[in-house]
Symmetry: C2
Subunit: 202 residues, 2 copies
DNA sequence: CGCATTTCGGATCGATCGATGCAGAAACGG
DNA sequence: CCGTTTCTGCATCGATCGATCCGAAATGCG
């Protein structure tokens, strides 16, 4: 059985879809869903609107795929953080990853999952709901990790994992908002360090 | 000298400018600057585009005035919080006000200063910068309040007021992001309470 | 080669964007 | 009544929005 990499008949694609998606991701990240017009997107991707629609479907689908790429790329620190052996290690890695990703020297400031489509008009409601689900997924995974920490005895048995997860995500989103406003990496890492000094807060 | 309330000659305005601005504020709050089109704005305001331009200038000016109204209305809890006698009281009132304002049962969820224009295209950069300055102003006032608390002996002399202000604003913005995603008032107030239990975090 | 298949560039679609022009209506001071 | 001033309704502006159509170009296959 082959890997399915058999080249299909017809004119081959003249661009790298992965690289084009990466360029689109950067545009969405910097300008948000509504602020990223098809013209700015395709211009950054180096392809025509025709090619974009053929390869990705439409703007909302492109955003969805860019968000997937964001999750597996810049936002992959979440997966790694959840594998830390202790709850304190999880939070430390999570906040450090948030600070680093939202303040990359070469790249957009902030978090795509926050500023991509926080409040929108009717036509962009799909993208907004997509990000609501994305943030909710991150929250749920952190909560489940804390539940496990309670079961392991890593966190006191009276702790509320859901509350703790809301607290940590609130800090992360707050860091992302400040990063979007231009607050520097060191200053935000200090915030993370301060919060970690009183962990857990209950 | 009169108060300047002398009615000017000419046809009087056929609508209440304050109420129209309030309606516009709600639209900006719910949909963000880019998501709020002139059509949706003027429809909610109950006036024509001509009247809107005559009374408020243009879309960006309308947004600026709506933000002023937001500051003096829904966001006035900041001023009241800063007058609390202790730093703990300030933070308690600040976070409680944030939770209440971002989760009003009848009204948009979230914070206009956060979701109004967090990431935008070129044409909305003015609104984005306006909100960056708005958030920075709030941060600075909180920092100055903490500096005073240190001088008063209300906070330990080794505390960093700037760091503390960043921490509190991060929590507030994080609460606002979660509120925009539909997280309920009680759950967010629990987050605020948890953070207050370990105040100050340093 | 011819043929089927796919992608390409360029033109263009109707709708909507923010913003204005203009004529007339409605208020004022005299 | 007048002239002046301001506001309003309607039409419309050029630009841009997301999305498509179409003919030419580029491949694999026979």
């Amino acid at each position: 059985m082959e890997t399915g990499q058999r080249r299909p008949t017809g004119r081959p694609r003249g661009f790298d879809a992965d690289e084009a998606l990466e360029r689109a991701l950067l545009v969405f990240w910097e300008r948000g869903y509504e602020g990223a017009s098809l013209a700015t997107l395709t211009d950054a991707m180096g392809i025509s609107t025709t090619s974009m629609y053929a390869a990705f479907g439409n703007k909302e689908e492109l955003f969805r795929k860019a968000l997937e790429r964001y999750t597996e790329g810049p936002s992959a620190y979440l997966d790694r953080a959840l594998e830390e052996p202790t709850a304190l290690g999880v939070v430390t890695a999570l906040l450090a990853g948030t600070v680093r990703t939202t303040t990359r020297p070469a790249g957009p400031n902030g978090c795509l999952g926050v500023q991509g489509a926080l409040a929108t008009g009717d036509s962009s409601r799909g993208a907004r709901d997509l990000l609501v689900a994305w943030r909710d997924s991150g929250y749920s995974r952190i909560r489940e990790r804390f539940e496990r920490a309670v079961d392991d005895g890593d966190l006191p048995p009276e702790t509320d994992p859901a509350l703790l997860a809301r607290y940590v995500t609130a800090l992360a989103y707050g860091i992302a908002v400040q990063a979007a406003g231009g607050v520097g990496r060191d200053e935000l890492q200090d915030v993370a360090d301060a919060a970690l000094r009183t962990w857990p807060p209950c």
